[in-house]
């Protein structure tokens, strides 16, 4: 269902009217159909499932996970610097998507 692997697009070509690509999976190369991501450019990374590229990986978003983890690092440092036992509460920081994407309602 969900076995999608990230790989780098290194070349494109046409086969019987379909846009195809050569994908580099860390040294293993496969031919993949790019019809579902026609706007893809060589050098971009895609998620591949059953021989089709499904999605172009958003590199900016990919960084967000690590930015968040770095922030947690900073909070940790602050916490360990505090000598008066005051609770900072890591729970305050949330890496939430913008309101438009995240229709949260409180119960």
């Amino acid at each position: 269902m969900c076995l999608g692997i990230p790989g780098k697009l290194i070349a494109t070509f046409e086969d019987r009217g379909m846009l195809m690509g050569k994908i580099d999976f860390g040294g293993v190369f496969k031919t993949v159909c790019l019809s579902l991501v026609p706007e893809v450019a060589v050098g971009q990374y895609v998620i591949v499932h059953v021989g089709f590229a499904l999605h172009i990986i958003d590199e900016l978003e990919a960084q967000q996970v690590f930015a968040f983890l770095e922030y947690m690092d900073d909070l940790d440092e602050l916490q360990s610097d505090e000598s008066n036992g005051c609770e900072l509460g890591i729970v305050e920081m949330d890496r939430e998507t913008p309101i438009a994407d995240n229709q949260e309602t409180s119960t």
């Binding site: 860390g26 159909c33 089709f52």
Partner: protein
């Protein structure tokens, strides 16, 4: 490998584990939808990293596992035909039908072939014009665009000796059925990342609203799963419901419009029976009228099927999250990947296979017994 290694970093996992511990003050039951997520959780021991208040329940996201027994039996009947080259994804081969499986049909002389992509079948059909190539099109929404493209290409290029046996199922109706059940204990959901890469987030807002439940669309690597769990726990702790997208690098809110277009062209929604669960209305795809010519069920009608479900198999309970694999009396004994009672023990996304292959509860290691 980029976009994999960094999401398996132990130091990052440790940080997220501590954050989850800090955030958790009550008991919570969270379900991961996708079998691929289940495998990752078991493989990396994610569930064992969590505080004891959090229970992970495995969802029905294994399309091979939920394909009805009747359809497996039909596949076996079609694959046994002399003129047919029967193609499927690898893990379908050992799924037990009423009396046999595709592997046995192959061993008995049937032309059964494992393919990586549905496009491989088109090549086979072109190179074997005197044979009938039938593809077992099993999957959730993730696989639907690929299967739709193959059928669309077949029609475009006039590849008439190709047909598909369709077993496509949809996540949102399954979630609705599970959450509506009187025995439901699931309070939060980790949504299936790649399903949403295709379909987007839109269908999940009404579900979150109707059941007042947090749904965090999550990826598959350990860091993804831990971050998904953290975000879900935080929402639960503050009584929030709604949809969040942890797997933003792989999912746009609108999904893949190109994929949705080809799905809409080739498929239409239909009722589907889910093995172990029963009929769920509007929960699957069938070929739309313009493409029915490629329907293997119409091309090779199979009648007189006597379906015989295994007595000891509890995969239905496992797929609904009511039972864990090791709680089934047959687990690891009468039922192993070599001689499975049901699909969950052989599918690459089956929960029983995950537990068995990663050595859970087989007596070898001191795993937590939750």
């Amino acid at each position: 490998m980029r976009f994999q290694e960094e999401y398996r970093d132990p130091a990052a996992a440790h940080k997220l584990r501590r954050a989850i511990r800090a955030a958790t003050t009550e008991n919570w039951t969270i379900m991961e939808v996708c079998g691929g997520q289940t495998h990752s959780i078991v493989r990396y021991g994610i569930d064992e990293l969590l505080p004891p208040e959090i229970e992970l329940v495995h969802g029905p996201g294994c399309p091979v596992c939920v394909t009805p027994l009747e359809l497996i039996d039909k596949a076996l009947a079609i694959a046994s035909r002399d003129e047919v080259i029967f193609c499927s994804f690898g893990d379908m081969l050992r799924v037990p039908g009423s009396r046999s499986d595709l592997f046995e049909v192959k061993a008995g002389g049937g032309d059964v072939r494992i393919v990586y992509s549905p496009l491989d079948c088109l090549k086979l059909a072109e190179h074997n014009p005197e044979r009938q190539v039938v593809f077992f099109a099993v999957g959730f929404e993730t696989t639907a665009p690929a299967n739709a493209m193959a059928v669309w290409q077949a029609k475009l290029r006039g590849i008439d000796n190709f047909s598909v046996l369709v077993s496509h199922v949809l996540v949102p109706p399954a979630l609705k059925a599970i959450l509506s059940s009187s025995t439901n204990r699931i309070q939060g959901i980790l949504g299936a990342g790649h399903v949403c890469s295709v379909m987007g987030l839109e269908e999940y807002f009404p579900l979150a609203s109707m059941f007042r439940i947090p749904i965090v669309v999550t990826g598959f690597e350990p860091i993804d799963l831990l971050e998904g769990i953290l975000r879900c726990v935080r929402m639960l702790e503050r009584g929030a419901s709604g949809v969040e997208n942890q797997y933003a690098r792989g999912v746009k809110p609108e999904g893949s419009l190109a994929a949705q277009r080809v799905i809409a062209e080739v498929f239409e929604i239909t009722d589907r029976k889910w093995r172990g669960i029963g009929l769920i209305p509007d929960s699957g795809y069938r070929l739309s009228p313009a493409y029915q010519h490629f329907d293997a069920e119409l091309r090779f009608p199979v009648s007189d099927l006597e379906v015989l479900e295994s007595d000891g198999c509890m995969s239905g309970q496992i797929l609904q999250g009511n039972l864990k694999p090791h709680e089934c009396p047959a687990f690891g004994k009468q039922c192993t990947p070599d001689h499975p009672l049901g699909a969950t023990m052989v599918s690459s996304e089956g929960a029983c296979a995950a537990y068995f292959n990663y050595g859970r509860f087989l007596g070898a290691s001191p795993s937590s017994s939750r």
